[in-house]
Amino acid sequence: MTFLTQILNGIQIGSIYALVALGYTMVYGIIKLINFAHGDIIMVGAYVTWYLIAKLYMSEWAAIALAVVGCTVLGMVIEKVAYKPLRKSARISLLITAIGISFLLENVAQLIFTANPRMFTNLFPGNMNLGNLTIPNNTAVTIVVSVVLMVGLTLLVDKTKIGKAMRAVSEDNDTAQLMGINVNSTISFTFGLGSALAALAAVLYCCSYTQINPTMGSMLGLKAFVAAVLGGIGSLPGAMVGGFVIGIAESLTKGYVASSYADAIVFGILIVVLLIKPTGFFGRTMNEKV
């Protein structure tokens, strides 16, 4: 019984990791960048939603919609301003810039909102009973919404034209351009999409773990990145599977080993994956040409 509850807890946090991992994996697939700032976009989404609901008394749905729009715009702006100029530069510069943007977001948030954690009201209070299990409503909503979004995203990438463009650009940037695909707007779209997903993940996260503070995004982002790597970076189903696996592993560690080891276990999984099968569950092996 307890075990089932722990698994359920794992699936709950895992679905949030999965949503965030999708953003990471899409961006990495397309411009080969680990966007460290992705976790912090979640933080921005959370603060915007909180502010709109708690301080400006907007209705929940309006606030969420605005937050999604806001994060999308933010993601696209960051890409235009910070990452685009460095597209031709060494990777190390890009990585460092991403780290810089991440810190910038965290510290600006800290300046504006102070480090004092803010409380978010659970938008889906209450429990439901499935036989012996008591499932909080927000858990159910989180899992259902995440799965729906993932399915939607997969459909978008597989069946639509823009999805095809995304796949083409991630396969081979230059050839895609030669084929007439507008690479810049495809990349912007990808960032925007990833950020929108992050904003939704933020809302779901805050309903379950009601506290928001400026640094909430960094560890969340890192673990989601581990999930993306585990599943195979560049692969959408991989990111989802990876997210759930990491979530469950973390929950079981907290329940049966010790909470303080949870981070170590997550990173340990990362290391093992990278050493044994760096391309993860679903990734493709990349060959290097000289």
Binding site: M1, T2, T5, Q6, N9, Q12, I13, A54, Q110, T114, A115, N116, P117, R118, M119, F120, T121, P125, N127, T134, P136, S208, Y209, T210, Q211, T215, M216, M219, S251, L252, K254, G255, A258, S259, S260, A262, D263
Partner: protein, 379 residues
């Protein structure tokens, strides 16, 4: 050319560090080290605001022997390294007479160690860890130590007829872990069975895993030795899970009712040990509450009260010692005067035993009913 410029800049920076320290002989400089930014900024700001409140009050009444008190405040960002740097700056550059600081245990221990050689009087309002006063005789505190409040809560459990208790604590925080250790020891000796002992790490916001285990053990009370923000998270997640046990908190729990946006029904029926109670009818307490509310718009919590007391104790000692310029002998006379302290402060009657920087005080247990703090008793 660029490299010459770079070298010149570097050298200029080195010499630019030379600050001229102004020594105003008509002001008394007191240093304050507190975390004004970072994770524990709320606590640092509470203490800092209270110290400022008392200082303004004393200055308005003419200062100490006609000299105005000047506070030199440094932010340690909750980090021990920064705290030590701030300490060094206060002693060497700013040349303060005494220091009020720090707020949380780890940086305070660092500062305490660094200060032994200098023997400058330092008083912390709120650092409750045992080791703080163990390095030298110059370190004082206005609060009790954690062992005492853990014992209080264990006594309370016995008084309430509790036989099964659970603990959930922060394993990466010395404050929380120290309290848990003491609580367990006292429970064992008093016959209360600790049926679950769950740990979490700093930064955790999801306690479902630990709470699931606790729920399975079915305790009557859950001891949560944590600061108010995390206390709220744990308590609300426990209630959401259907756990009905009573929550016990500690002095850091004070302030739960002031959390912006919290669902305060979660707090009905909790008990926590504290340094002072707003119900206390004594004049010093009520005046403090009124002044604080007027200046900052909210009821002061225990940390603010302790900050206030730290300032009160220190200024009283300085007045009795009658010295105003920093020097080795003056520092020692202030330390001697501190050991002679015997005064009624907001958080109780304060006296010190010779050589022991921890005051003799009692703990009060506060309960919350219908969203209001109420004094429950002394245990």
């Amino acid at each position: 050319m660029k490299r010459v410029l770079a070298i010149v800049l570097v050298v200029a920076m080195m010499f630019g560090m030379t600050a001229c320290s102004g020594s105003g002989s008509d002001t008394i400089k007191i240093g304050v080290i507190a975390p004004l930014t970072g994770d524990v900024a709320v606590y640092g700001n509470a203490v800092n605001d209270a110290v400022k409140l008392y200082t303004d009050k004393v200055n308005a009444e003419g200062g100490i022997d006609g000299k105005q008190i000047e506070l030199v405040v440094y932010d340690d960002k909750g980090d021990a390294t920064e705290a030590v740097n701030a300490y060094n700056k206060l002693v060497s550059s700013d040349q303060v007479l005494a220091i009020i600081g720090d707020v949380t245990s780890t940086p305070t221990i660092a500062v305490a160690q660094a200060s032994v050689a200098d023997n400058i009087p330092i008083i912390t309002g709120t650092a409750t860890h045992l080791d703080v006063t163990s390095f030298g005789t110059n370190m004082f505190r206005a609060c009790f130590i954690d062992d005492l409040q853990a014992r209080t809560m264990a006594n309370l459990a016995v008084a309430q007829g509790v036989t099964k208790a659970a603990v959930i604590y922060n394993a990466s925080d010395s404050y929380s872990t120290g309290l848990r250790d003491s609580f367990k020891t006292y429970c064992d000796s008093l016959g209360v069975e600790v049926v679950a002992d769950e740990a979490y790490a700093k930064g955790d916001v999801d306690f479902n895993a630990q709470l699931t285990n606790i729920a399975a053990a079915n305790p009557e009370v859950i001891f949560i030795p944590e600061y108010y923000n995390t206390f709220y998270l744990i308590a609300s997640q426990a209630r959401a899970m259907g756990i009905t046990a009573t929550f016990y908190g500690v002095d850091g729990t004070d302030g739960v009712l002031e959390i912006d946006g919290a669902d305060i029904s979660v707090f009905d029926g909790i008990y926590f040990s504290n340094h002072y109670t707003t119900d206390d009818p004594s004049e010093v307490v009520q005046n403090f509450i009124t002044d604080y509310k007027e200046a900052y718009g909210q009821t002061p919590n225990a940390l603010a009260a302790l900050g206030y007391d730290a300032a009160m104790i220190l200024f009283d000692a300085i007045k009795r010692a009658g010295v105003y310029e920093p020097s080795a002998e003056n520092w020692q006379s202030i330390i001697d005067a501190l050991y002679q302290t015997d005064m009624q402060c907001v958080t109780g009657h304060i006296t010190y035993d010779e050589g022991n920087g921890t005051p003799n005080k009692s703990t009060k247990v506060i309960t919350i009913e219908n969203g209001v703090y109420g004094f429950y008793g002394e245990y």
